[in-house]
Symmetry: C2
Amino acid sequence: MGEKSERELVALLERVFGRARRPVLVGIGDDAAVLEVEGRRFVWTVDTSVENVHFRTGWLSLEDVGWRSFHAAVSDVAAMGGIPLAVLSNLIVPRSMGPKAVRALAKGQALAARSLRCPVVGGNLSRGGELSVTTTVLGRVDQPLLRSGARPGDELWLVGDVGLARAGLLWLSREEARASRRGGSTGRAVARCLEAWRRPRALVREGRALRGRARAAIDISDGLSTDAAHLAKASGVRVVIQEPRLRAALCRELEKVAPLLDCDPLELALAGGEDYALLAAGSGRVRPRGARRIGRVEKGRGVFLESDGAKRRIAADGFEHFGTENGRKG
Amino acid sequence: MGEKSERELVALLERVFGRARRPVLVGIGDDAAVLEVEGRRFVWTVDTSVENVHFRTGWLSLEDVGWRSFHAAVSDVAAMGGIPLAVLSNLIVPRSMGPKAVRALAKGQALAARSLRCPVVGGNLSRGGELSVTTTVLGRVDQPLLRSGARPGDELWLVGDVGLARAGLLWLSREEARASRRGGSTGRAVARCLEAWRRPRALVREGRALRGRARAAIDISDGLSTDAAHLAKASGVRVVIQEPRLRAALCRELEKVAPLLDCDPLELALAGGEDYALLAAGSGRVRPRGARRIGRVEKGRGVFLESDGAKRRIAADGFEHFGTENGRKG
């Protein structure tokens, strides 16, 4: 869907639904909703993968579809510092899809559930014209990490790898690349990128480690520069990504694969989202292990890339999300 | 979807996901999942309406689609004696659908949210080939009413009206009926049936009134005889519907419209589901106001209709649902 029409529809839904009061602590506009029920806080989110919008079954197995839709949904809970408790799975299944295919999809979900210790406790199955997997996650949280707490003077932290999934997707979308067989370290680097796209991992433990340290956090689902813009807008600040620091944070496999795709690894990193890394901001004094400093927070607006002392704007203010993710394209 | 293939797929999913342990009190197989978190119990359910499977936009407005998908989802919480707290709305929207249409759909959801005091606190919007509305409801519950508690000797109770929505849907599906304009009391009866299908109401207050009185309950979404079979199977009992009692419980509008559709009102009642009435079983000593006795619970299996002293089987054992509803057809 076009970014613009998507923004308009989401803004429209926000107006129609309005701001809810009790039991809502955090409603439309963050990674997930936060509810407070009898003194307990819960984080709650829904995410959908639609065939030919978010994935193509030619490029990944149905087991991959199940795994990745599950981890993508849980990633919103991870970004808030929450613990996923349980999942409801809603499948719309085309008539052409038989039991074997449904089993493969569910197996991917079940493996993901085990990997995250977060069981599928129910759901719904309907026939329809196209395959879609909608995953709802309920999690427990004490002090939710929001997008809105970053302050000028904070460091910008990257937790996890970014750009690999994008490289994997680009590899699959280019027929020549797909057709080529590569061995050795290049082949392993390509395999890592494909794995990153097909089998991402929600960084639940890493999100927990940000609690009490990060002042703001978001999961990188739409792309580093876009999600940085969401954080900047929600916090009312400017985010400056420092090119040398970001380059230093990229993994070797990305540097190996990018030239084969005629890309700069930096661009893959800035556009990449579906690795489900975390972006956070906080004081340098409390930076957690595993969080790599890739920039800083300043007064102002928007997202800037700083290279050789010069800054250029790379993203405008992010729009507020209707809940979690909106029409990401896979 | 064919009943049989649906059963097979649902059974398959149950096997793949297995029985979850903590925090699950009730998992796959009842109206909704029940979770226990730090001593608090929550009821949690998801339901989907897919265009051309569950509804046709020629037969109801998009505002109706929003309203009805919301109440249908909350109905599962009502059947458990729960209080709905909040909803996540997941929309898959075809490219042909513009802002005006999305607004109408969301308005129906927002009206339903207000009618149930259950706000939409987040969600997701994706493009796709066909319209679908997936509604996830979180509710609070203390002693959940399950499908499984009915005992021989219990009365069978109907709460709310049944058959009207089915009559409304049949009316819309018959072109001649649709084309005819009827005034007076017949016109009003038809209008009531159409309203029942387009704007059902989740019986939350009535479900609450069953707590401490009913031993088992289910919402009638698939049809009275089918849902009675679900209750019979889950409870390990036979359900006997007494024809004279059921006839006496039917409302006048159904009796007025049924002949115009060449139907027996009893058949509309037995097949009717989308009114979202409640079916419950309990001791006659504690029957709540508003619950009409339509039969009894016996030892055995299946669902029987008793007329003039003779019993005939009208439904086999219901299959266990994968959570809540499965591929209902609108």
